[in-house]
Amino acid sequence: MVNRLIHSMRANNKFSRNLQFELFLVPVLLFYSSFVLIPMILSFIYSFTEISFQNVSYSFLGFENYKALMEDELVKASMGYTAIYTIGTTVLVTLAAIPLALVLDSKFPGRNTYRATFYFPSCVSAFVLGFVFQYLLSSDDNGFLNSILINVFHLEGIPFLGDIFWARLCSILVCVWFATGWNATIYLAYLQSIPEEYYEAAQIDGASMLQRIKYITLPMLTPAAKISIMTLLTGGLRVFDLPFALTRGGPANSMSSITQVLIVRGITEGKIGYACSLGIVFLLLILVITLIQTSAMSKLEEKVN
């Protein structure tokens, strides 16, 4: 009898302890489920229906919305631009960040000032930077680069933001301008964790500087590359602020991001079901690419070590 009482008290105690612990999850779960989990489920359901802000009936459409996505010129344009931007920025930022990190890792006068300088642009909103570059790259003769081309080099002005090719290139280069320092800092963090003895041993063995970079530095940088490339890929696929600030998605929709099309179709035009199908494709695209990239880089990591 007494034993049973103690037993039930203990169980009760354990239950109340568990409950007390679970209460700590409440705030995060409340916001997370209201604005992430439930919207995710709703997106999925809506994507198979014809629901819109005007029409609240949920007529079931099957995969019609998904099929219509493939015919939508604006969706195609945004996918094309997003692919170009993502590949362009990932390749160029990585190619610029690794040498910058190698230089910033060595000793030279003013090193800390340089580190802080190169990092700073990533602290400022991409939208604001796009807004500023819109002036600097302005297509008329008043633009900063154009006034240099015309007045200093006596060349003709270039429609930096007025021409599809130039505008897309400029959006990529502005990203390289502000993201290189941040990514270099990730590489730098890993460079600083390479033990000095590795280099000393290599030097004793008579390895040249290029050999040291090839056999010690680069393999040690693979984990940094895994993170840096992941943030570049996801950042590129999610891009919205920068092209929106530079040209509002123009010229001729050549810089519309997936997010911008989602807003136009879903909020401006009110086609909820249709926009949700785009949202689901967007979400899957990012998940699949992230998974492929991280598992590929993890394999590479195992190989070089």
Partner: protein
């Protein structure tokens, strides 16, 4: 030899650093120029400064109100993320059971989900709950994005010695008290990282205020920049003076936290 090689690096990096820094000098300089000076000498850095643009934007665009909104949104969102995410990490680390493991996976999954992909139902929820156009509505959205913070806290909490918690329990510390008296104060280094990242993110965010705070009295500074462009595209001084107002608090914050920022990034990166 070493010294000369060092000097060469300093010299080679200088033009690169100039390219990085010039747009910021351009922003501040233009904001201090008169309209006539901007047309005559748009890119020069030597001129007679004036506060004309600042007076104009504070009068015409209620920038003071927006600045206040920015502070309000940033402070409440960041404080909420710092506290709630640490709370969520506590049962995941110190009371690991099947349910909590599942929850932890679910929350951390949020880091991979692009929130923009869910914009449409979020927009609908904001309208239905009447949170649209309300400052708290946007704060709630930022609080929903605490996945990375939970992940960082879980990683850090796991490094704490387990017997620390057990001895406190024996001394009569309850589940509630133990967190606030012992665990949370020990989180300070991670709190610094979480604060720094989220301050920059929330202060600079464009898409959430753009979609969910359209009325002028609730606008944030970034929205005011957009407004000057749409209304007064030729008057660069207006937009760029608001830009300076956006960057100035960030610059001060950056100078004070730069050391922790890079350290935090390393920790976050190494654990990620």
């Amino acid at each position: 030899m070493g010294k000369r090689a060092g000097m060469i690096k300093t010299i080679i990096l200088f033009p690169l650093a100039l390219i990085v820094i010039y747009p910021f000098l351009f922003i501040v300089a233009t904001s201090l120029k008169e309209q006539t000076e901007i047309s005559a000498n748009p890119y020069g850095l030597i001129f007679t400064p004036t506060l004309e643009n600042y007076v104009a934007v504070f009068e015409r665009f209620s920038v003071a109100r927006s600045l206040l909104n920015n502070f309000e949104i940033t402070i409440f969102s960041v404080a909420g993320i710092v506290i709630f995410a640490a709370m969520a990490a506590y049962p995941i680390v110190f009371n690991p059971n099947r349910f909590n493991k599942m929850i932890s996976g679910l929350i951390i999954m949020g880091y991979l989900i692009p929130t923009q992909a869910l914009l449409i139902p979020v927009y609908q929820i904001m309208i239905k709950t009447k949170l649209i156009n309300q400052v708290p509505g946007v704060i709630f959205l930022y609080l929903a994005g605490s996945s990375l913070a939970v992940f960082l806290y879980v990683g850090y909490m796991k490094t704490l010695p387990k017997d620390l918690f057990e001895s406190a329990t024996i001394d009569g510390c309850g589940v509630w008290g133990c967190f606030w008296k012992i665990i949370f104060p020990l989180m300070t280094p991670m709190i610094a990282t979480v604060v720094i990242f989220n301050v920059f993110f929330v202060w600079n965010d464009f898409i959430n205020p753009y979609l969910f705070l359209s009325s002028p009295e609730n606008a944030t500074l970034v929205l005011q920049v957009l407004k000057t462009r749409d209304q007064f595209a030729v008057e660069w001084g207006l937009g760029l003076s608001i830009t300076t107002v956006i960057m100035l608090p960030l610059l001060v914050f950056y100078i004070f936290t730069q050391k922790y920022l890079i350290k935090g990034m390393t920790e976050g990166a190494v654990k990620g």
